[in-house]
């Protein structure tokens, strides 16, 4: 039975965070899409203005078959709903396969829930792939509502190339 701790990620954790991000992307069959580097993660998460926060789950060294001590993580940040205010946004949430079923995921969610309530958030939002039934069950068991189903929200993206196209046009208005 694994004993584990949860703690705030530190700058030294970026290579483990990168590894786990890639593992989760592989699980979602989108590993080639990870272009972020450890350098980006370091600047963006541990500089003057962090754009994300991480919780990491750690086990004693001997417990992992490959010698990793960081075996799970959650990446989150704060967003804003103009109807109800601050939200905690859960961006990534992953526990390595060999460490599942031990309550680590549940504990991570618990710590995040406490964080959200303490920082006066009105809720927690996150995305789940529609074919990820296991995760959907995990979240629904804990009271999560599928807003895409219930309210018809769809996620859109305008990628960099198209953003650049929009910046190229001459502006007719005064911009301050």
């Amino acid at each position: 039975m694994a004993s584990f701790i949860l703690r705030k990620a530190e700058a030294r954790d970026v290579s483990d965070i990168m590894r786990l991000i890639k593992e989760l992307a592989k699980f979602e069959e989108m590993e080639e899409k990870v272009v972020l580097t450890e350098k980006d993660l370091l600047e963006d998460g541990f500089g003057d203005h962090p754009f994300y926060h991480c919780l990491v789950a750690e086990v004693p060294k001997l417990q992992s078959s490959e010698g990793y001590t960081v075996i799970g993580f959650a990446m989150y940040y704060f967003t804003y709903d103009p109807w109800i205010g601050k939200l905690l946004y859960l961006e990534d949430f992953y526990v390595m396969q060999e460490f599942r079923g031990l309550g680590i995921g549940t504990k991570i969610l618990k710590v995040l829930s406490e964080k959200a309530v303490k920082t006066r958030c009105s809720g927690m939002h996150f995305l789940v792939a529609e074919n990820n039934t296991k995760s959907i069950e995990f979240y629904k068991r804990r009271g999560a509502a599928d807003l895409s189903s219930e309210e018809g929200w769809r996620l859109f993206e305008i990628e960099k190339d198209d953003l650049l196209k929009m910046t190229a046009n001459k502006s007719l208005c005064t911009v301050e």
């Binding site: 969610l109 809720g123 999560a144 018809g152 990628e159 960099k160 005064t174 911009v175």
Partner: protein
């Protein structure tokens, strides 16, 4: 009629709330707006802003229209662990009578500049599936429906669920 775009200031919170409520009404969800001007002020103009706004203001020859706030965008920065910083467009609204004048396009252009200047890799936002005019507006400018293409669904834990999951408060 000319207009200008500028960063929102604390004095704009009542206009921001007015436009938030107008947009909610358009989405038929007006009763769900419980946010107050006080919260908008603390959350947007305190030590740690949780959101940013760009305001569209009229500059008419007609002095009664001058300075009228007729549109806005609310945005913040998010993080995609595959590609990095993103600009997240939370709200985007131009009052009915001022549409078709290029204000919406101007706001989107301003946001695109901002995203590029802050080294974001893209802009994300949600649209209601029945909001055809908005879907067309965005698709014309290159937006992709990731819910359709990649199957992403938005989920929520309400505050009640969060409290249930957290440690019970000590008595």
């Amino acid at each position: 009629m000319e207009y200008k775009l500028r960063k929102a200031e604390p004095r704009d919170v009542s206009d921001i709330l007015r436009l938030v409520k107008e947009l909610a009404k358009y989405e038929e969800m007006e009763d769900q707006v419980t946010l107050t001007e006080k919260e908008l002020l603390e959350d947007g103009f305190g030590d740690t802003p949780f959101y940013h706004c760009i305001i569209a203001e009229l500059q008419g020859e007609n002095s009664s229209d001058d300075g009228k706030v007729v549109g806005f965008v609310m945005y913040y920065f998010t993080y995609d662990p595959w590609v990095g910083k993103q600009l997240y467009l939370e709200e985007f609204y131009v009052m009915d009578e001022y549409r078709g004048m290029g204000i919406g396009s101007g706001l989107l252009r301003h946001l695109s500049d901002l995203a590029m200047n802050t080294r974001c890799t893209g802009m994300m936002f949600v649209v209601a599936e029945n909001n055809e005019p908005s879907i067309q507006f965005y698709k014309l400018r290159g937006a992709e429906d990731l819910s359709q293409e990649e199957g992403w669904r938005l989920f929520r834990f309400s505050k009640n669920s969060l409290v249930k999951m957290g440690t019970p408060a000590e008595e």
